[in-house]
Symmetry: D2
Subunit: 340 residues, 4 copies
C-alpha cells in the first residue's frame, strides 16, 4: 500500500494531516515527526485521535521512507526542512508559505526574510486542484496555497477567467484562531474570544498568491474572528459592461459543475443563502456564492472553507489523491455538520 508521512506533525495542520491519513482507505499513515514532541504519543497532542493510533512522534529526520511526504513546518523554517527531504524519493507536498510564490523577491517582500532555496521554487507546482489538476497529477513537488488565498482564488476565478470582472477586486477576509497556530501570542481565549481583530487592514501576504493565481492585483483586508476554524472571504468586483446576474450565474455554474469540492451556494433568501464556514468544519468543501447587482454594475463573490482542511490538510490530501491516481474524494468524504 502507498505510505505517507508528516514532517512537523505537532501543529494543527499536522494534526489534520494525520487525521485524514488515518482515515484514508487507500494510503497508509507511516509516521509523523516533531522537534518539540518527539517520543510523545501523537494522541497527546491531538486528543481526537485517541483510539485511532498508538504511535508516537519521531525525531525530525527519523521518519521512515515513504511514498508521499507532507511537510508542515512554519513559514520561513520550511525552506530548510523541505531541502532536507528532497533526496528521499518521496513526493513532497509542502503546506508552508515558502514555496508558494515563484518570485523570491516577492517572497522576501511579504515574509520579511530572503529565500534561502530560490533554485527550488521552479520545481514546485501550485497545489490547487481546481486550477492545476493536470500538473498536480505528475508533480513531485507540490506547494499547497494559503487558506485565505484558496478561498479568494476560488471565489474570483470564474469571474476573472470569463472576463466578467474588471478592475481590482477588494477582498475582505475573516479567519478563525486556529490559523495562528498552536502557540501564537495574543491568542489566549480571554483575548480572542468574540474578537473582531482587524490585524491586516491594508495588505496581507496572501495578496501576492492571489495576484499570482488570478493574474491581477487585489486589495486585501483581514479580520481575525472569534471562531476556531473557518475562513470566509467577501470579494467585491466591478462587472464588465453589459454583464448581469445571468452571466455571473452561468460563469459559476459552468466553472464548477465538475468540481468535487466546490459547491455553488447562491440562494435568493434564507439563513443559508451564501457560504458560511460554520457548517464546513472538518469538510473539504469550498463553498462559493455570489450576489450580482445589475444596476450597480458589480458583484459580491463569497467563499467559505475550513482553513485546516480545504485551506490546508484536506487540499493537500486531494493533491495526493490526484498524484497517486486515486479517486479524488478518497478519504475526504466528511460532509460537515449542522447545526454546530
Amino acid at each position: 500500500m502507498t505510505t505517507a508521512c508528516v514532517a512537523g506533525g505537532a501543529g494543527y495542520i499536522g494534526g489534520e494531516l494525520i487525521r485524514l491519513l488515518l482515515g484514508h482507505p487507500r494510503v497508509e499513515f507511516a509516521g509523523a515527526s516533531s522537534a518539540t514532541l518527539a517520543g510523545r504519543r501523537i494522541d497527546g497532542a491531538h486528543p481526537n485521535l485517541r483510539g485511532l493510533t498508538d504511535a508516537s512522534f519521531t525525531e525530525p529526520g527519523r521518519l521512515p521512507r515513504c511514498d508521499v511526504l507532507f511537510t508542515a513546518a512554519p513559514h520561513t523554517r520550511a525552506m530548510a526542512a523541505v531541502r532536507e527531504h528532497l533526496d528521499t524519493g518521496a513526493v513532497v507536498i509542502d503546506l508552508s508559505g515558502d514555496f508558494r510564490l515563484r518570485d523570491p523577491g516577492e517572497y522576501e517582500r511579504y515574509y520579511g526574510v530572503p529565500h534561502t532555496e530560490p533554485e527550488l521554487l521552479d520545481g514546485f507546482v501550485s497545489g490547487l486542484p481546481e486550477l492545476h489538476r493536470a500538473e498536480i497529477a505528475t508533480a513531485d513537488r507540490i506547494s499547497v496555497p494559503g487558506c485565505m488565498a484558496t478561498a479568494a482564488i476560488l471565489a474570483l476565478h470564474p469571474l476573472v477567467r470569463s472576463g466578467l470582472a474588471v478592475g481590482e477586486p477588494r477582498v475582505d477576509a475573516r479567519t478563525g484562531s486556529s490559523g495562528s497556530g498552536a502557540s501564537a501570542a495574543h491568542n489566549t481565549h480571554a483575548e480572542r474570544s468574540g474578537a473582531l481583530r482587524v490585524y491586516a487592514p491594508l495588505g496581507h501576504r496572501h495578496e501576492a498568491e492571489i495576484r499570482q493565481a488570478l493574474g491581477r492585483p487585489v486589495r486585501m483586508t483581514v479580520t481575525g474572528i472569534g471562531a476556531v476554524r473557518g475562513v470566509q472571504v467577501l470579494c467585491w468586483t466591478r462587472l464588465a459592461p453589459g454583464a448581469g446576474p445571468r452571466e455571473v450565474r452561468a460563469a459559476y455554474r459552468t466553472r464548477y459543475a465538475a468540481e468535487p469540492f466546490v459547491r455553488v451556494v447562491a440562494a435568493r433568501r434564507g439563513p443559508h443563502r451564501l457560504p458560511d464556514p460554520k457548517i464546513l468544519a472538518g469538510a473539504n468543501f469550498c463553498d462559493v456564492g455570489f450576489a450580482a447587482d445589475e444596476a450597480g454594475g458589480e458583484v459580491l463573490a463569497v467563499a467559505a472553507l475550513d482553513n485546516l482542511v480545504k485551506g490546508g490538510a484536506g487540499n493537500a490530501v486531494q493533491c495526493m489523491n490526484l498524484r497517486l491516481g486515486l479517486p479524488e474524494r478518497s478519504g475526504l468524504e466528511f460532509s460537515g455538520l449542522h447545526p454546530v
Copy 2:
C-alpha cells in the same frame, strides 16, 4: 442493497440520520418525510448536505418501503407515529423518549401524558449496544436512549456492575442547545449564547432511564450550556470499602476494552485529562473517564458525547449495523476534530 428511511427528517436528529445514511457504505438512504417541509429540498433544512443529495422530503406516510425505518418524531408524538409504521415490515429504530421506559406509569410521571400504546412497550429493545448488543442483533423494534442517559449509563456502568459503586450516584449533566430541537423557545442566540442555565435543578426524565438501565436510582441536575452540540456528565459515587484507584481503573479498562465507540480517557494531567465533548462533535465516541479518591472513598466518573451522534443518530446507526450484521463501525468512522 439494504435501504433505510427517516420518518421526521427535518429536525436535528433527523438531519444527522440522513447525513450518516448518505455516507454509509453498506446501506442506501431511501427517503425522509416531514410534516412541515414536505416537498422541500432536504438540503434546504440541512445545508451541510448540499451536493450530497438532491432529494426532497416526502409527506409523512409516503415513504417508500425500506428495510430499516428510523422514527424521529418529538416525544409524546412518536407513540402514534411509530404505531403507523409497524406494519411496513421494516425494522423500526425509534429515537424519541416514548419507548424507552418499560413502565407506562413511569412514562406518564416523567412525560406528563398517558402512554397511548402501552402494549407496544414490551416489544422494544433498548438501543444501547454496550449493554444490549446481543438483543439488538435480533430485535425488530429498538428504542435509542436519551443523550444524557447514554452518557451517564456508560459513565457509571463499570462501577455498578463490578460492585465498586455504593449508594445513590449524583449526576451533573451539561447539555448543548441542539438538544432543545430546531424550534424551541428561550433558545434564541441572544438568550442562550454563553448561558449556564440550570433548568432541571433536581430531577430530569433521564433519571428514570438511568435507573432502569443501572438498576439503581440516581439524582440528576441538568444545566443548559452555551455549546450547540455536546453532553458532558459528572457522576460522583461512593466507593465500596477497600476499593481505590487501582480497582476503578481495572473496572473501566476491562469493561470497555472491546467497545468500538467507548474510549477510556483518564490521564493524570494535561488539558485533555478527562472527557470533553468539544472534540467529539460529529463523532460516535462516548469518552469515559474517572478520578478516584482513595482517602475520600469516592470516585468521579465523567462521560462526554455528541448529543446528536452517540447520543442519538450515530447510536441508532450503530444499532442498525448490529441488526443487519454489518461491521459495527460502518459509516461511523469520523473521529472528531481538534481544535474546533
Copy 3:
C-alpha cells in the same frame, strides 16, 4: 426631578433604556409599557435589573405623564405609536427606523410599506450628537439613527467633511444577533452560534441613512456574526490626490478631539490596534480608527460600537442629556470590560 418613560420596554432596546434610566443620576425612570408583557414584572424580561426595580410593565397608552418619552416600537409599527404620543407634551425620542429618512419615498423603498405619517417627518431631528448637537439641544422630536448607520457615519464623516474621501465608499458591516430583536426567526442559538451570515450582500436600508447624513452614496454589505452585541464597520474609500496618512490622522484627531463618546483608535501594532466591539459591550463609545495606504491612495476606516448602546439606547440617552441641558456623560459612564 425630570421623568422619563419607555413605550415598548420589553425588547432589547427597551431593556437597555430602562437600565440606563435606572442608573441615571439626574433623571427618574417613571414607567415602561409593553403590549405583550403588560402587568408582568420588568425584571422578568430583563433579569439584569433584578434588585434595581420592582415595577411592572403598563399597558401601552397607560404610561404616566413624563418629560421625556422614548418610543422603542418595531420598524413600521412605530409610526402609529409615535403619533399617539405626540400630544402628551413630552419630548419624544424614537428609536425605530420610521422617522430617520426625510423622504417618504425613500422610506417606502427601503422598508417596503408606505409611510403613514409623512407630515411628521420634518419635525424630527436626527439624533446623532456628533453631527447635530445644536439641533438636538432644542428639539422636541428626535429620531435616533440605526446602529450600523451610526458606526459608518462616524467612521467616514471626518474624511468626507475634510474632502479627503473621494468616490463611493464601500461599507462592510458586521452585526451581532441582538440587533435582530428578542424574537426573530432563524436566530436560535444552534443556527446562529458562530455564524457568518451574509444576509444583505448588496444593499441594506442603513445605506439610505448614511447617504442622507454624509451627502454621498455608499455601497453596503452586512454579515450577521456570532456575537450577541456589537457592530463593526469596515469602510474603504479612495483618498483625494496628494492625501496620505498624515492628513487622515489630522482629520480624525481634529474632528473628534472634543467628542465625549468617540475615541480614535489607530495604533501601529498590537491586538487592539483598530476598533473592536468586543470591549464595548455596555459602553456608549463609538471607537473609530483608520489605516491609510499612501501608495495605494486609499484608506480603511473602522468603527465599532455596542448596537444596543451607542447604536441605540445609549445614544438616545445622550440626546436626552443634550436636550435637558445635563452633562452629556450623565448616566453613560460605564467604560466597557476587558477581557470579556
Copy 4:
C-alpha cells in the same frame, strides 16, 4: 480626597481594580505598578480604559503614597510583595491566595510551597463583607477570598448557619478562562473555546477557604468552561430532618435581605429561574438561588458571579468602601447586561 493605588496592575484583576477606581466617585486612582509593563501606558494593556486615563505603569516600589493599596500579585509571589508594602501606612487589600488561609500548614498543602510570612497571617481579615462586615470596617489588612470560594460560601452560608444543611456539601464549580490570568498555558483560544475541562476532578485549593469560612468540609470539583468571565457553583447538601422548601426559602430571604450585592434568584420556571453568570459580567452581584426537594431531603444551592468583580476586584472595592466609611455601593453600581 482618598487615594488608592494598585500594585500589580497589568493582570486582569489589576485592570478591573483600575477600572473601578477610575469610576469611583469618592476615591482617586493614584497609580498602578507593573514589573513587566513599567513605563507603558495603562490603556495599552487594558484597552477598555482608553480615554479614561493617560497614565502609565510605574516600576514596582515606585508607587506614590496612598491611603489604600491593592496588591494583585500572583499566588506565592504576593507574600513578598505584601511584606514590602506594609510600612507605607496604607490600608492593604490583597487579592492573591497568600493570606486567605490562617494555617500556614494548610497553605503549603494547597499551594505547594511553604508560607514565607506566616507571622503576618493573623493580621489579615477575610474580605467577605457578607460574613465579616464589622471587622472589615476597622481592618488595615484585608485578604479578598477566591472567586469560587466566594460563590460557594455565599451559596451555602444560609443553610449552614441556620442548621438546615447537614453533612458534607458537594460543590461543582464552573469557571471562565479569565481566572487563569493573562498568560496561562493551555489557554489559547483554539484550545479553550467551548471547552468543558474538568481540571480539578476531586479537590481544589478553594476547598480549604470554604471549609475555613463555613466551619465544615466540602468536596469540590472544578470545570473550566468556554466563557471568559463568570463563575457558577452548584452545591448539593442534605437537609436536616423535617426541613423543606419553606424553611430553605426563609433562610435565604432572611440572610440576604439587607445585603446590597446578594440577590436571591429562585423562580419556579423560566430561563432565568436560577443564577447564571452570563448576565453578571461587570456587575458586583453574587446571585444566589436554590431548589429544595422535600421528598428527597436535599437542596441544590446555586450561586453565580463575575470572577473578576464580586470574585475579585469589585469585592475588594466593596471592602475599601466599608473600611473608609463610604456608602457600600459607591463605584459598584453597574448592573450587568442582558442580553450579552
